[in-house]
């Protein structure tokens, strides 16, 4: 149930359009319970076969949902990525030092906006990767539960298929993320001087949607990997190793402190 709760929390904190695109973990769990508790069901019986079919049918629907959403978002990201690059280029070419109308104020203003947009864009992409992962994890857990409770052998072959689904193959997005990071490095001014942790905390948590979601996602991952799951076993992930977990802890995003613009 831990995962279920965490999933719910992520869904709440997620970007609004995404809320209904996640795995219906609870419903599927209920179904598993239903199937496993039916006394007359024994493996090999016709009814069990049908119950399994239904279960698989639902899972497939979920997967289709993920795929559709994921690819839609991916397409958007591909477009926006290119647009951002072009935008940076335009700003540099127009108001940059070597541009057609060099103007430091304009340049700075535009760059500030671009920075914000790029960081948000980066965040959204990472959240999509997270979306993919959370749903995959949920599926894996549900399958494990199913196998465990019904003695079925659904998990292994099914998960192999899931691994090849578009929503799980996040390579392109990851690539875009990395490219975005290098663009950001280019666009951000060189970091001058140290800032105390306090200061940073005070000004942090600017963006409600993306940032909160990101932090929630990291926290979920931490918890998930800490173990304690009922299906922890040979196919489970090892504990998480987040180098700066206290950094994450410091972002208690319950009451965001908006930066006044």
């Amino acid at each position: 149930m831990k995962f279920g709760k965490r999933l719910k929390q992520q869904m709440l904190e997620t970007l609004p359009g995404w809320r209904d695109k996640f795995l219906s973990y609870k419903e599927l769990k209920k179904l598993v319970r239903l199937i496993s508790s039916a006394p007359t069901l024994s493996n090999g019986s016709f009814e069990f076969g049908k119950a399994e079919e239904e279960f698989v049918y639902l899972l497939n629907n979920e997967i289709e949902k993920f795929n559709a959403f994921f690819m839609e978002q991916e397409e958007d990201f591909v477009i926006r990525h290119k647009e951002l690059q072009q935008r940076v280029q335009r700003v540099v070419d127009t108001w940059g030092p070597n541009g057609s109308q060099p103007s430091e104020t304009d340049y700075k203003a535009e760059m500030a906006k671009i920075r914000k947009d790029i960081v948000d864009f980066h965040g959204e992409m990472v959240l999509l990767v997270n979306y993919s992962n959370v749903n995959y994890t949920g599926l894996a857990k549900i399958l494990k539960k199913y196998d465990k409770r019904t003695g079925g052998l659904l998990r292994l072959p099914f998960i192999q298929k899931v691994l090849q689904q578009p929503f799980f193959t996040t390579d392109l997005i990851s690539k875009l993320v990395k490219e975005c990071e290098s663009t950001i490095d280019a666009v951000f001014p060189v970091q001058d001087g140290e800032q105390t942790r306090e200061e940073r905390e005070a000004i942090t948590v600017a963006e409600e949607g993306i940032f909160r979601n990101t932090v929630a996602a990291l926290q979920t991952m931490e918890e998930l990997r800490r173990g304690g799951s009922s299906t922890y076993g040979h196919f489970s992930l090892p504990p998480l190793n987040v180098p700066d977990s206290d950094l994450i802890q410091s972002f208690q995003v319950n009451s965001p402190i908006p930066i006044l613009y």
Partner: protein, 484 residues
């Protein structure tokens, strides 16, 4: 007995299926065919894959003829198909792929008419798993609407135009003569029901789509017939290729009316170029862009929706970068908040970046781990099967001496060595004790199953497996083995 809502729904759903299927089969026995074929598309349209598909195709056909009593048959067929079978090749096909390829087929069915889509969808819905449309339980009408939207998003009519546009290019893609044969079969049976399907589509499409598109729906079948063979041929490869992300240039391919196109940066580049050539995003038309791009498998619908997104993406930033007046006010605002604020903002953004980067890192790591875990699981599974096969042969000789009681415990052994091997290579130190127990119960139950289930033979894979598995904790569990 307690009412099992899930199952009862299932039963009613099954009836539905039978009805649908029957109506489908009444009109033609073939409609069933496309479904499974559709679903058995491998990722790459190799001819060897094609031959596998043909095998699978014949199965449903025999079932089709027995549809009235289908529920049992169907159930069996379904449960045996979606990857539960020992046919590894087939199991590598994703049910989702099948599912999603239904739509390309459905839209194709529009070109072929027939209640093909109906039975097809039935199959698509059921073949992956269950006969019941759990979500569309009420009536067939709602079922239609449920299944329709899935491909209405990708209006079928575009397939029509698409098929004409692409027929020539698509032939190149396939070129397998087996497809030709299959396509011919399909074509011959489709005509009678063409109007049905178009009507159906026409209704829903008109409401959802622009008049221009709707018009295309009502195009008469003659158009389709000319292109049908090509259209059919077009089906398998593109929808296969769309999933094969690896292929760079052809990564843009997609099923004719399954507009779940996976846009890559390269494809987008080509798109942007085409748009620019046509005078910009406002001026460019989907048709023009499609023509310019010359990408196989790309439908006008894909282009249209992509163009829409493109325009939206451009419009917003441009309007904010805006005119000089806007710019001035923004600059004034900026300067009134002194630099401290802006650096604070920058800092905040940096923080955000930190967290985001961290999350991304972790996600990548997690994903790799997940992949590895499953990879291992798969390898072990294959090992089991290999061992089982040799074990079975050996045991057949001593079959008379084998009794049931020892079976469950011996069943446990193959599983736990596998698990302990996994253990050895993974970090988690736990559940060493409890897993064999789980394995036992799991295997006991599963050993009672026949057919399709992979583990059944496992119990017969005795000594040969033992030495192979990692020696660590399997020693104690080998005990029951000895009497065999």
């Amino acid at each position: 007995m307690e009412a099992r809502p899930a199952l009862s729904i299932q039963r009613s759903g099954t009836k539905q299926l039978s009805n649908m299927g029957m109506s489908g089969s009444l009109s033609s026995s073939l409609p069933i065919l496309p479904g499974p074929l559709e679903e058995s598309y491998p990722k790459l349209p190799d001819s060897q894959h094609v031959s596998m598909e043909r095998e699978l195709v014949t199965r449903p056909l025999t079932h089709a003829s027995r549809l009235p009593s289908a529920s049992g048959v169907v159930g069996h067929m379904f449960s045996s198909s979606p990857g539960f079978s020992t046919d590894l090749h087939y199991s590598s096909l994703s049910p989702v792929e099948r599912h999603s390829r239904n739509s390309p087929f459905i839209s194709h069915a529009s070109t072929n008419g027939a209640c093909l889509p109906l039975t097809h969808t039935t199959h698509s819905g059921s073949l992956p798993s269950t006969a019941s449309h759990h979500y569309a339980k009420e009536n067939s009408a709602s079922w239609h609407t449920d299944s329709l939207p899935s491909f209405l998003d990708f209006p079928v009519n575009t397939a029509i135009e698409n098929s004409q546009v692409e027929s020539s290019s698509c032939n190149a893609v396939l070129g397998s003569e087996e497809f030709n044969k299959w396509a011919d079969q399909l074509i011959s049976d489709d005509d009678p029901l063409a109007s049905d399907w178009n009507e159906l589509l026409g209704d829903t499409n008109v409401t959802d789509l622009e008049p221009k598109m709707a018009y295309q729906v009502s195009k008469p079948s003659p158009n389709f017939q000319a292109n049908q063979s090509q259209v059919h041929l077009q089906l398998p490869a593109p929808s296969g290729e769309i999933r094969a992300i690896a292929t760079p240039s052809s990564s843009s391919n997609s099923g004719p009316a399954k507009p779940r196109m996976r846009w890559t940066p390269e494809l987008h580049e080509a798109f942007v170029e085409a748009v620019n050539q046509l005078g910009g995003s406002e001026r460019a038309t989907p048709k023009g862009v499609l023509k310019l791009m010359k990408v196989e498998g790309l439908t006008i619908y894909h282009v249209k929706s992509h163009l829409q997104k493109y325009r939206t993406a451009r419009y917003r930033p441009e309007s904010s970068e805006g005119s000089s007046e806007k710019k001035l006010t923004q600059i004034e605002e900026m300067s009134s908040f002194d630099l401290k604020t802006s650096s604070e903002i920058t800092e905040a953004l940096r923080m955000q970046m930190e967290v985001q980067k961290r999350l991304h890192e972790q996600l990548e790591i997690q994903r790799n781990l997940q992949l590895r875990i499953e990879e291992q699981g798969r390898c072990l599974q294959m090992m089991f099967e290999k061992q089982c096969k040799s074990g079975i042969d050996r045991l057949n000789a001593t079959a008379s001496t084998l009794e049931n009681p020892p079976a469950p415990s011996s069943d446990a052994v193959p599983d736990s060595p596998a698990k302990s091997e996994l253990e050895a290579s993974q970090v988690d130190p736990y559940k060493t004790g409890s897993d064999p127990v789980n394995a036992n119960t799991g295997l006991e139950e599963s050993s009672q199953e026949l057919g399709g289930k992979q583990k059944a033979p496992e119990g017969k894979a005795p000594q040969s497996f033992g030495p192979d598995a990692c020696e660590s904790s399997s020693q104690s569990l080998k005990r029951p083995r000895t009497d065999e």
